[in-house]
């Protein structure tokens, strides 16, 4: 019997007319992650079937674990023999080596011309197993082993309990967003959670050379590579923020430094988002974590943009965020000790409850529109390809 990969879809039951769009996008996304091997994908509204060579199965499973929109990944078996006696024997062969005390057989018959109906097939096979394997019983409510049989036009599929997929929606089905990525622990997690909901992300990073180093930029690129695994590559916008930051430092009272700086970042992000057809901004702000993340601060900062700002970790505790960061592998990179532009020039006592009136007042002292225009004009774009060969491969 040939092996075959069967996928159950994630949260698609709420979709009606556009379910096809979601499944097609998932198919495209899967095609991209396993493009290195020969494959064929078929799907219906309940399942997706991937046919690959047996030696490529482990590789594919490994890649599919990072694809959103999949509820369960199952390795099943395919047989072209539709004869009921042979189906019985095939099932017996497959389950013989497994350890279980209770089981249930569930049959699906998409081939309606098949002479025996689904219930009857399940009954026949269940009876056959009971006769041939000792000490097992049927439990229809809580079976240890669920044996699923699917009778299709030219083939029968057999499968058992699978492994959990990532869930969520297929990436890209919900459009695009722009992630404000700092290099800290929170923003990559915020990005991951947003990708999970089907949003394809681009990222924006503010650097302040010479105050921030190339190591810090390198760190953000590494974070993007990790997020890129879920996002099918990622586009990173790098804004040189030095001039703006230095101007703020020179002209604005220090307690308002962070407030004004964040307002500038929001303005730039909103323009970049608009230019790249991103519908939302995403960031790693968490309520109350630092002075710029109090509710009043958020309100004063958010006031400069009209685009919706999604804060996936707003209500998470730091420990909850760290747990996710560790799980997705960004934590060790995020904690590398390089300064980013939010951590340089931190005033001793930043204002906790900034006033909107004061902030606009102070801002009017600097001609920020010109500076913003310049920063956007000169911004650098890196297309981060997760499959990019190691650039020193020839030396190693």
């Amino acid at each position: 019997m040939e092996k075959i990969i069967i996928l159950k879809y994630g949260e698609l039951s709420t979709k009606k007319d556009n379910i096809n769009y979601f499944i097609k996008t998932l198919k495209q996304n899967i095609g991209k992650v396993i493009e290195d091997v020969d494959f064929q994908i078929y799907y219906d509204f309940g399942r997706m079937y991937i046919y690959v060579k047996e030696e490529d199965i482990d590789y594919c499973l490994d890649r599919l674990k990072n694809v959103f929109g999949i509820l369960e990944i199952i390795v099943g078996y395919k047989s072209n023999d539709l004869d009921i006696e042979n189906i019985k024997n095939n099932v017996l062969d497959l389950v013989k080596a497994k350890e279980f005390n209770t089981f249930k057989v569930k049959t699906k018959r998409s081939n309606k011309n098949y002479p025996i109906n689904s219930m009857e097939v399940s009954r026949l096979i269940g009876g056959y197993l009971l006769k041939n394997i000792k000490n097992i019983t049927v439990d229809v409510h809580n079976p240890q082993l669920l044996i699923e049989i699917e009778i299709r036009n030219n083939e029968v599929l057999f499968y058992f309990n699978g492994i959990k997929g990532l869930g969520g929606y297929p990436v890209g089905t919900l459009g695009k967003g722009l992630l404000m990525l700092s290099g800290g622990i929170d923003s990559p997690v915020a990005g991951f959670l947003t990708i999970k909901r089907g949003v394809k992300l681009e990222a924006i990073y503010f650097e302040s050379p010479p105050h921030t180093s190339d190591f810090a930029k390198e760190k953000v690129i590494k974070l993007c590579k990790i997020l890129g695994q879920y996002n099918a590559n990622i586009k990173l916008h790098i804004i040189n923020f030095t001039e703006i930051q230095e101007t703020i430092l020179k002209n604005i009272p220090h307690e308002y430094l962070i407030t004004i700086m964040r307002r500038m970042m929001y303005r730039i992000s909103a323009i970049i988002a608009h230019n790249n057809k991103c519908n939302i901004l995403v960031n790693g702000e968490s309520i109350g974590q630092v002075a710029s993340q109090t509710l009043t601060s958020m309100r004063v900062i958010n006031e400069v943009v009209k685009i919706p700002v999604i804060r996936p970790v707003a209500c998470f505790d730091k420990l909850e965020i760290i747990n996710i960061a560790k799980k997705i592998g960004t934590y060790d990179i995020s904690t590398l000790p390089y300064e980013d532009c939010c951590t340089i020039f931190v005033p001793d006592h930043p204002v906790i409850n900034p006033s909107l009136k004061m902030a606009t007042e102070y801002e009017n002292h600097i001609s920020y529109e010109e500076l913003i225009h310049k920063a956007i004009k000169n911004h650098e774009v890196i297309n981060i390809n997760i499959k990019e060969e190691n650039k020193y491969q020839d030396l190693l």
Binding site: S213, D214, F215, E218, N390, K391, Y392, Q393, L395, L396
Partner: protein
């Protein structure tokens, strides 16, 4: 020239030499520096380490670069002893270890540690019952090499680990894998600590690494600065590290196929030498084919090595690291002092050719029969 001493050291392969030269010329920055050259070096260091980690299925922070296996053995054994001496001062090693392990044990004995030597059977396999008996509540470390350097006897590390952890879950397991890596498949997850060296696998001398599982703690032997690794501070030797990484990649390519080929060569030599009653083949069913140990009972091994030297055929008496003494490994396996005094080690590699082996056999027979006539 016929070089048959690959287990003592190997020549550096052209590919690896190329890496050393290029990295030396092009990567002048210190990976610890903040400037662009430093970053470039740091990136190469990271890629090299990642390649090693990926090959062995471990994390990059579990790799500590050392000057070779001797330093790695010191770092592992003394590092464990110093970190865990409050829990106990008992250490177990086998009788088939590399001399550096015994030297470390002697030092530890002198400062109050207790060393026990686990027995092995006459096939060279660790005596599991003896090991079980020796492990106590205060046993902090067991060190058993993956492959013995003199006879090539390979130990079942997974099984040994299970026995150790069943008797005392806190006992740490170290294995000197110098003679195993690049010759046979190894699994680092069978052990807590493992040592290796590049110059046994066509890499340069002066570089190796210690694998240290993230689950255990050891204390550093040397202190200094640098962000690469707290156990081995100082500026990392980037050309050597890149070379090590490349040597490991090349050595782990088609391991099984190479092993099968070397096995053929090994059998060829055995078939040729078996016919002489005074030549004993020191091979057990656990020996790997790359190392073939024989005892020429009626000739002093030094004499024979010198004779072969004239033909530009290079062999070892027991191992390069303990030349002159009797072979402790042969003694441990066969308990025959004469056999242990007369050992010669022929070590093969995948670059050894059938012609070389044929030529070696031919000259060996000729010279051996000549000596016999004199006697």
């Amino acid at each position: 020239m016929i070089y048959l001493d690959y287990s003592a050291t190997t020549p550096v392969s052209y590919e690896v030499l190329d890496t050393i030269s290029k990295v030396t010329k092009e990567f002048i920055g210190n990976p610890n520096s903040l400037h662009a050259l430093g970053l470039k070096s740091a990136q190469l260091l990271e890629s090299a380490t990642k390649q090693i980690a990926d090959i062995f299925g471990i994390s990059t922070n579990e790799i500590i670069y050392t000057s070779g296996a001797t330093e790695a053995n010191n770092m592992a054994i003394i590092g464990v002893a110093m970190a865990h001496h409050r829990k106990g001062k008992h250490i177990i090693v086998s009788k088939l270890e590399h001399p550096s392990i015994y030297a470390i044990c002697e030092y530890l004995k002198s400062i109050g540690f207790e060393i026990d030597y686990v027995k092995n059977d006459n096939e060279g396999l660790i005596d599991f019952d003896d090991l079980k008996r020796l492990i106590r509540d205060d046993t902090i470390l067991v060190s058993i090499c993956a492959v013995n350097s003199e006879t090539g006897v390979r130990q079942p590390l997974k099984m040994i680990r299970q026995i150790i952890k069943k008797e005392n879950i806190a006992t740490i397991f170290h294995s000197d894998m110098t003679q195993a890596i690049g010759k046979i498949a190894v699994n680092f997850h069978d052990v807590d600590l493992a040592s290796m060296s590049a110059h046994k696998i066509f890499g340069p001398k002066g570089i190796g690494f210690l694998y240290k599982s993230n689950m255990i703690k050891i204390v550093p032997l040397i202190y200094g600065s640098g962000k690469v690794n707290e156990l081995k501070p100082g500026t990392p030797p980037l050309p050597l590290i890149a070379a090590l990484s490349k040597a490991i990649r090349l050595a782990n390519d088609s391991l099984e196929k190479r092993e099968r080929f070397i096995n053929l060569l090994n059998n060829k030599i055995i078939t040729a030498l078996e016919q002489y009653p005074n030549i004993k083949i020191n091979k057990t069913k656990y020996s790997i084919p790359q190392i073939l140990n024989i005892s020429i009972m009626n000739v002093m091994p030094e004499t024979f090595i010198h004779i072969m030297d004239k033909h530009e055929i290079y062999l070892s008496t027991n191992t390069a690291c303990s030349s002159g003494d009797i072979s402790s490994s042969i003694m441990a396996i066969y308990n025959d002092i004469k056999r242990a005094k007369h050992t010669i080690r022929i070590s093969l590699s995948y670059v050894t050719t059938t012609e070389e082996v044929n030529k070696f056999i031919e000259i060996f027979k000729e010279e051996y029969e000549k000596i016999m006539q004199v006697k």
